[in-house]
Amino acid sequence: MRAAPPLPDATPLVALDAVSHRFGDTLALASLSFEVPQNRITVLLGPNGAGKTTAFRAITGALVPAEGTVSTFGLDPDREGHLVRPRCGVVSANPALYDRLSGYDNLAYSAELYGMTGSLRPTITAAAQRFGIADALDDSVGGYSTGMKTRLALARSILHRPELLLFDEPTSGLDPESSHAVLELIREMTAEGRTVVMCTHLLSEAEGLADHVVMMEGGTALIAGTPDDLTRQFWPNPIVRLAAEDGEVLDRLSNWPGVAAYRRDPAGARLELDDLSRLPDLVAALVADGARLTRVEPHTPTLEDLYFTIRRQAGGSTAGRGRNGDHNGPTTPGAGPDDAGEETDGDGHRGRSPGGGRRNMLEPVAARWGATTETPPLWAGEQSPLEPAPATAESIAALEAGEAQR
């Protein structure tokens, strides 16, 4: 076997470049490009039909995209899939287990397919213990709960000690305690030198876990980078929320030195400061002027804020109203009477989508544009506007002027 040469540390483990693929009339991947850094957790975020699963398949060579290039471990997964796949561990959205077999047999099957030899029992038992499934190893998988199946699939994915782990919704069906433990294990795996690519709908899950984020929609990557870099890109200034008994007293802040942006709503005011060290002086001045402050809260933008902002700017719905079917395109932005985050899945169940209906509390660009319910997209062409920095002072001023004219 030709051993793949080790990649230099800075070289991404996976690189997709302008990858496109269609399923019939549906464009599943549209010039998708992103990179996965080594020994990091990369999280693919996006609504159903964004192309996350198709991207996973392209990474291992299970699916050969019609256009573009994919590099995994520096290899072409199409031509050299036999060198790529043994080094990958995959947990698909459907656990893909053999229900008639026992948990042990499922793991043994995988171990043997991945070329493991010798006594498998200790390795299988250890993997099962790690995911809390050892007690049920000899039971038929058909009798497992959804959570147990997910755990077994996770155990199966790490059996052969892969360098790259691809997890498609790994905590789906798990209770909160188990989800937390799985995320801890994912962190451990990167500490062991593995690279993890995970896709999830759960923003809270990605928060704090992701070293690198790729936000996808309509088969393309809207933006990619570390969460810190991305939030700095969108919110370069520190944000503070203030509230006072008399809200109008806060309006004077709009012209204060160091205040880059100001917006007031019934709940209070939102400021962007050029430097957070101005806050004590600002508060002291307000108090000296007789303002009775009820809230002073510096706010660090979260991944969730970032997600909804990018989705809104990309023209996608932030209401999570997409169906669970594949390849649904972006929905109309903006709120409506039913913009409460309820969605109907493929089985006709109604439930609250992750973050669905939640209005982005920061709304950085909309605030600057004015209180519109529909945020105009920043671009109209094919090129994503979100790379590089999306909103500069000039662009904001131009947009404000346009909005004022309208």
Binding site: Y98, Y109, M116
Partner: protein
């Protein structure tokens, strides 16, 4: 079920070196992987009582109950007109076949002829029926259960998967037939042997048919059935479509088997078998192309 136990930590996964992946390149055919695919498929069949119970019943009916009943009726009932007529009907057999019939009484000759020449269909129908049922569900079943995703991401090559599935479909049908054939031999010798001057079964022609002619016909049928299974959208559709392939092949195989049993020249049987093997080999090679990872994932155009 206990909660997940992160405290076990990564050390638990530091497996003994003996279990480390050997990372056999999948570009070269790995027969072990093929066996693993086949063995797992067979294990699933064994665990499914609703599958193997009918299989056992089918074998028992065709190889034991039906022949035993007919042969007992003929040899034990005595000199009745039906036996006389059946005995006279033997004259339609080729002369070479007639000359080999043993026994002095009409009952003995009739039962001998039935046992040796007229039960060929059971050796054809049983394995083809059983194997086709398994093969038709094998690839489309992976897709329906979602396990095709696992196989598509695995290092197993499509050739290993395809041949593993062929093997897993071949074994139940052929094994049932071999076991059934052994039982049938016992039944025939016990019932007809005393009338025909001793144990006489299996004859050379039967052995050629079972070991040389039947396997390639079975493989040929399976190679076609698996192609269908890779392409159709549901197991039900695969079962329906495979019937279209299996029925003509049963007719052909039966014709060839009967010809072999009754033919005067065993070399013809060897040539026939060789041709069947060649055809099966070509069909198997071509069949590999029908399995793609896209089809395992269910996203083929």
């Amino acid at each position: 079920m206990s909660a997940l136990d992160p405290s076990i930590g990564s050390g638990a996964l530091r497996a003994p070196q003996t279990t480390a992946p050997t990372r056999t390149p999948a570009s070269k055919f790995d027969s072990h992987r093929m066996w693993v695919v086949a063995r797992t498929e067979l294990r699933q069949l064994l665990l499914s009582k609703d599958y193997w119970m009918p299989m056992v019943a089918l074998g028992a009916i065709f190889f034991m109950i039906l022949p035993a009943f007919l042969l007992l009726v003929i040899t034990r009932v005595g000199d009745i007109s039906m036996v006389q007529q059946a005995s006279q009907a033997l004259s339609v057999l080729p002369e070479a076949a007639q000359s080999r019939i043993q026994g002095t009484t009409p009952q003995a000759r009739t039962s001998y002829a039935l046992a040796v020449y007229l039960f060929a269909p059971i050796a054809i129908v049983v394995p083809l029926t059983i194997s086709t049922a398994v093969g038709a569900a094998s690839l489309v079943g992976e897709r329906e259960r979602g396990t095709g995703e696992f196989l598509a991401h695995s290092p197993a090559s499509v050739r290993e998967i395809y041949l593993g599935k062929i093997l897993a479909s071949f074994v139940p049908g052929y094994l049932t037939t071999v076991i059934g054939f052994g039982t049938y031999s016992l039944v025939v010798n016990l019932i007809v042997g005393p009338e025909a001057g001793g144990w006489f079964f299996p004859t050379t022609e039967w052995l050629i048919m079972m070991l040389w002619i039947l396997p390639p016909f079975l493989l040929l049928t399976l190679s076609l059935v698996l192609r269908l299974s890779a392409r159709v959208r549901s197991t039900a559709a695969a079962q329906q479509a495979s019937g279209l392939i299996t029925l003509p092949l049963i007719a052909v195989a039966y014709g060839q088997a009967s010809g072999t049993l009754m033919g005067a020249n065993t070399s013809t049987a060897w040539i026939l078998g060789a041709a069947a093997w060649a055809l099966a080999t070509v069909s198997l090679f071509r069949g590999v192309r029908s399995v793609t990872r896209n089809r395992l994932l269910g996203v083929a155009q």
